[in-house]
Symmetry: C2
Subunit: 456 residues, 2 copies
């Protein structure tokens, strides 16, 4: 065991105490009454970075919750500069009464720290600070140049982050970015996330008569917008899952055999999907497996329907309006704007008779994110994971979007690598959140080995 | 002018005062605080019937608002017995501030009585009482036997009427029924309503996952119930209006040439339909005119859609449930039960993959109503209208249902004839309801002539 690893082991009890102290701060970004707590968490992080030996540790204001940055840039100009990202805000903890122990009074049971934020992302973001400290305290230096970038609004969608990143890109520029806000596939099963989906959100509104009509007075003589909307939606995607919007798949980078093989190795059996969701059968785009559909093929989902009478019983109304909210999850190299235009053009072209249809954008967009083949940072991360877990990581993709990954790519031109040690079963946004202490420890070694490997 | 007609003219000012007094009673059946007022209106009606010379005038309790009956059965066994129906309850008058004069302080302007219920149906139901009185007071007798049957819950759908009618059929039995709750086509243009549509109400609920899911986590791999619902609805009715439910049209009595010609004489130009509704184009079952579609062909309308997120903006949810409320307006000889079964079978047969669909009945049913050709009471009514308006009445049908007409047919076996003198432009369920005094007067003669004609 190397000196810095021994330092980690020797100081583990202190680190755990620090994680407990950090978790005690109720830094809930969604609740106005916790604004001072989010700020207190920022101060705690800045102080901890300084204590570890980082320089320029500072809390920066944004339009909302603050950001904390720090750096250590003395490895030499021939060494790469890494940026490590994480967040110190947490989800609301309600309902409190479902917690075995209070969410902001963390305690250790069964080798786990139980408390709100222990896993997402306080444990996660503390890890690289501790790895950094272990080098500084044992060797006085790090094999790479390092920047820390932690935010306090991830759990509310980082609304003020993109302009701040844009205005402070000099502070953040790096050769590689690692996100300490991430998961491994399962305990003992590492993963490298190679892609995230993009997003476009829109709403279709169909209008028939100018106001609701009596279905007995004019029904049968004028078109029903709810029926017309059904025809429009049915025309966007077949009942077997194929999306029929003209041009929808044009820019999709096809999955090659290697990509399909990697996805199909991800252990996500249909039985698990069905038992987790309660759906009666797997479903989706013909010609693809469940993993391919969810992780790597674009989707079109109706998120909501609204028309006419929604109360109990019967109202014999022929409604004036019917609307559907839709989001599409996109894959490289689809563009949210092009997909929106394609859907709007499709709806306009296929609008049923007797009604008018309007398509508008709703808030929310993300470009799809696909790590280029042979990406250095990903390869290094994969090698470290292989070493530590004794097996090669799964090469996974995520069906959702992570806006900060897109923001960093767009602004800094760097594909961030998710390198975190939480797990999906740790009740991340639910009562009784916990973080595994063995992964806390393993993560510290992982970041240290990453520094060593990249500093060679 | 005959003696009874002279009596009507001589007493017209008194009759108008009585209509004003009747209209002052705020007998709003929908509002619990007006229960005593509905009862007061019932008492007023019973007293007025007695004053006119009717016998056995009584207020009868039901499970809800009361009923008033009276009779005069001394014309002789060789004369027919007529039952006259109407209602003394009224619609709520809100919003009060849109009324030029207060709804329950009726006044006369421009030859019209303005007030809630003046047209629907207090003016209408008072008419046959006055015609009856004119015979009794001038001749001491009526040419026919007559029963009066007035209710106090028409505006809330007569929920307690069917069991009461069933339990009191002896009191109501008659050779012919006339409803004093009815309209003429337009001022100066009489009509005989030959048919009313039936109704069946149902709800389709589609379930995908057991609870709402994150569209990024499982979207593309499990079916979306809102999309599946769209496919189901699109499969019930083509976008051009043809209903594609298997068996839907099986029991429809086809319109023969004479029926189509009569309907097409009804002046209801597409321009009027579009300007009244604001719909962009006429629409409906191919091969039929607008009048045929609205008045005489069955319909299937979506009354409401509910699924997932309906608030502002975006929620990336894959909903668990999606539902649609549907009503079908039926024509003779369709059965609400058979149509429900047909739709349920159709939905079960064509349910898209990956979801389950359930079809349930909602409250509200009515059999379609079609007056048989050569119906005596209709012919007599048509002859009276021809005499009084100087032109033959339009032979119309109504796209809506009037449950009491069905109730009377089902229980007493008699097709009621609508014989009322209100007009569709009189703001019947809106602020500033009014009733035309010239039609009030004409109606009184019309009922008198009807009595004479049927007593010959």
């Amino acid at each position: 065991m190397s000196d810095w690893e021994e330092y980690l082991s020797a100081n583990q009890n202190r680190f755990i105490d620090e994680l407990l102290a950090f978790t005690r701060i109720p830094s809930v970004s969604a609740k106005p009454e916790n604004i001072p707590d989010v700020r207190a968490a920022a101060d705690w992080v800045a102080a901890r970075l300084s204590a570890a030996g980082a320089e320029n540790a500072r809390v920066y204001p944004t339009e909302g919750h603050p950001v904390v940055c720090a750096d250590w840039l003395h490895a030499g100009a021939d060494k790469p500069t890494l940026l490590v990202y994480g967040h110190f805000d947490v989800q609301p903890a309600e309902p409190f009464d479902l917690w075995t122990t209070p969410p902001f009074e963390p305690e250790i049971r069964d080798g786990k720290v139980w408390g709100r934020g222990a896993s997402d992302d306080k444990g996660g973001m503390l890890i690289p600070i501790l790895s950094f400290e272990s080098f500084l305290k044992t060797r006085g230096k790090l094999p790479v140049n390092l920047k820390f970038f932690f935010e306090g609004q991830e759990e509310i969608g980082s609304p003020d982050l993109p302009p701040w990143v844009d205005a402070n890109r000099g502070l953040l520029e790096a050769d590689m970015i690692f996100s300490a806000d991430g998961l491994q596939w399962a305990p003992g099963v590492p993963q490298i996330v190679e892609a995230l989906k993009g997003l476009v959100s829109l709403e279709i509104t169909v209008q028939g008569p100018r106001s609701d009509q009596h279905s007995g007075m004019v029904g049968g003589g004028i078109a029903n917008p709810a029926l017309a909307l059904a025809h429009i939606l049915a025309g966007l995607r077949r009942e077997d899952g194929l999306i029929t919007v003209e041009g929808f798949y044009d820019d999709v980078i096809a999955l090659d055999d290697a990509a399909r093989a990697a996805l199909d190795r991800v252990p996500y059996p249909d039985d698990q999907l069905l038992s987790e969701t309660g759906s009666p059968a797997p479903w989706g785009e013909p010609g693809y497996t469940t993993q391919e559909r969810i992780f790597a093929r674009p989707t079109l989902d109706v998120n909501g329907l609204t028309s006419g009478w929604q109360g109990a019983g019967t109202k014999t109304v022929l409604p004036a309006l019917a609307s559907a909210k839709i989001t599409c999850r996109l894959v490289a190299a689809q563009s949210p704007e092009k997909i929106f235009d394609a859907i709007r053009a499709h709806v306009e072209k296929h609008c049923p008779p007797g009604v008018s249809a309007k398509v508008i954008r709703n808030p929310g967009r993300a470009d799809p994110f696909l790590v280029p083949a042979g990406h250095n940072a990903s390869s290094a991360a994969a090698e470290v994971l292989t070493e530590l877990y004794g097996k090669a990581p799964l090469r996974t993709r995520v069906g959702g979007s992570i806006p900060v990954m897109t923001t960093l790519l767009d602004t800094l031109g760097v594909h961030a690598v998710m390198f975190g040690f939480s797990h999906g079963d740790e009740n991340l946004h639910a009562p009784n959140e916990f973080f595994r202490l063995d992964e806390f420890r393993r993560g510290q070694t992982a970041y240290g080995r990453l520094f060593e490997r990249l500093g060679k």
